[in-house]
Symmetry: C2
Subunit: 366 residues, 2 copies
């Protein structure tokens, strides 16, 4: 196994290498857990949608794209205000080239997608400034635990990922409630990361919820209930349920670090089966620091797919190199998984070719 050209390890290299060897040529399954939080409709918080209201359509549109190759709940595809396409375009390519099976989990969304999905009894989340953000947290966690267990019986490794607009803000709130990192190091789908706005929202959320830094260190589900989003309990359960049996790649950027921290607290025994899988774009982001966040949680493997759009003929894709989008819909994790699942037959070169041809088809549809 030599993946160095396609995958770069940014933390705990020996653990990463050992885990990737266990996944090499083995049967992976990709999952994407969707959720909505009204936090994403606070103007300026989320760029994952052309307008604040459209951010509520983005998760469902993303997974419709994965399943059908086109969106149903909205016209066109989810884009940032600048016209830059959803990272689901990368995930689509990784899934198509690898042939990996994949499943969507509905953690709780405002707009239901027109696809088959696992339901865990979740609902759209409230604005975290209420301090009472997510319903049915324990129940969703428990149900997703069962999904993780079932999928782990049928596969050799699993990718957990997310599409949840506003999710870096909720992640920041949960990371602070859990006492992991005070500093605002979470990412944004915009290069102009609205850090002050996020800080003020998180501050207000924690105050209303009566939480000081680290108060909920021992109770991640309560942190999620108060200041998280509905993607989280489902994904935490899924990760714990699967990682008790098989290696799990947490595919995503700083949003998924809240899931990582919560999952490890719920069941520390899973540590040896966990790796974060993201993109070169996210790791290179000067406005966030996933490596430091991961280090604050533990000595955990972190790997990034070396996808590079610098030579892309499409401005919408080139924007990723200027700090737009960078991650989401498990685009990094699915790409890493595609390389491992296919024992290297899928790689950055074949992914890039496929992304370009898919993207050209999408441009024709718009």
């Amino acid at each position: 196994m030599d993946v160095s050209k396609d995958i770069t390890v940014h933390n705990a290299p020996r653990k990463a290498e050992a885990l990737m060897k266990r996944m090499w040529g083995k049967k992976g399954v990709f999952t994407c857990t969707i959720g909505s939080t009204l936090t994403s409709t606070i103007p300026g918080v989320s760029d994952a949608g052309d307008t604040p209201e459209l951010t509520l359509y983005t998760p469902s549109a993303d997974v419709e794209l994965l399943v059908h190759g086109r969106t149903i709940c909205m016209d066109g595809i989810p884009i940032n205000p600048g016209g830059i396409p959803t990272p689901a375009t990368v995930t689509m390519a990784a899934l198509a080239l690898s042939g990996m099976p994949f499943h969507i989990i509905n953690g709780g969304v405002k707009v239901l997608p027109s696809i088959p999905y696992f339901d865990v009894g979740g609902e759209c989340g409230r604005d975290i400034r209420t301090g009472d953000s997510v319903s049915n947290v324990h129940d969703c966690y428990e149900r997703a635990l069962i999904i993780g267990d079932m999928l782990a019986r049928s596969h050799d490794f699993l990718v957990a990922s997310e599409s949840c607009a506003g999710g870096t803000t909720t992640a920041l709130a949960v990371l602070r409630a859990m006492g992991l990192i005070e500093e605002n190091l979470v990412s944004s789908s915009s290069p102009n990361n609205p850090k002050e706005l996020k800080d003020s929202i998180v501050k207000q959320a924690l105050e209303t919820a009566g939480i000081s830094f680290g108060d909920l260190r021992m109770d991640p589900l309560e942190a999620i209930r108060k200041v998280g989003d509905p993607m989280m309990p489902a994904n935490v359960g899924l990760v714990v349920g699967a990682a008790r049996r098989i290696p799990v790649i947490l595919g995503g950027g700083t949003q998924m670090t809240a899931v990582l921290a919560a999952a490890l607290k719920m069941d520390p025994s899973i540590e040896g089966n966990i790796m974060v899988g993201t993109t070169r774009w996210l790791v290179n982001d000067p406005n966030s620091d996933i490596v430091r966040i991961v280090k604050s949680i533990g000595d955990l493997p972190l790997a990034a797919i070396n996808l590079d759009y610098r030579e892309s003929p499409h401005d919408g894709l080139k924007a990723y190199e200027r700090g737009y989008i960078k991650e989401g819909v498990g685009c990094g994790g699915s790409s890493i998984a595609a390389v491992l699942h296919s024992a290297g037959e899928v790689n950055c070169k074949t992914l890039l070719e496929r992304i370009h041809s898919d993207y050209e088809k999408i441009l024709e549809m718009i």
Copy 2:
């Protein structure tokens, strides 16, 4: 492979043998699709519940039993009016002994189960006498097709099954609309099969819908929309989606023959991957004739698990020998699959031991 002690073939023996060889020692996945139809609340139609209203709880209670080992949406376990336990008690044993992964699909129920399930956008069905029984038929079919395809990527064979009270009446209506068999040969969970009542309901349903025998021979989804139940479109899609890639056992009694007929009409190419798997009790039923129904659909393999409660110490189980229950919740199909998946390590003897010990625990819980 010698399964003759545990499994008896009742139709197309060579095809059955060939298919079972392909599944022997291979990785199976069990599914159960639940649905409700208000048809089951017509007094006298369904015994799958202690009262007509409780029949609407039975599907969800059944799958809660499979997932949690206990019911949540109701107290106790689904029973016939005489106190005879749900066939889910058999399915539980088959799943536990084989360790097979399993998933629940919600085709459309009145009472949601407290478990994770695949949602396909279905709703509780209307009384078939309306002639307009099931909503979103095409959409549910299409979504379930995707589930079948995904599960077939991850497993070597699949069991499709059902829990839907009132389902033999809707099956009779669909079989007649499709012109397969005029005679009323469907089963009942009671030895006193209310054949006249079912006939009069089906007659009224077909009349209201304006369907004569065989009118919808070429359009099974329209037959289901008019006089079927919401378990059907989901299960038809699942079966077609999976059987395009891998062998599929249709686990169930006469209810599943409507699914069988519809699936084969939707995609005749799946024929070589299809087998009906049921129980000795159902095949022996003097008040129904699954063999003749299957023959009316085609030269299709039909096998039965040789479970025998004659020596059981429990009256509730012995009742199966007197014509009560006999099938449901894929109890026959899951048992056959457990034998195949485990390459014979699970067999009627180990199943029986497990059913007894599970049933004794359940009696303590009630």
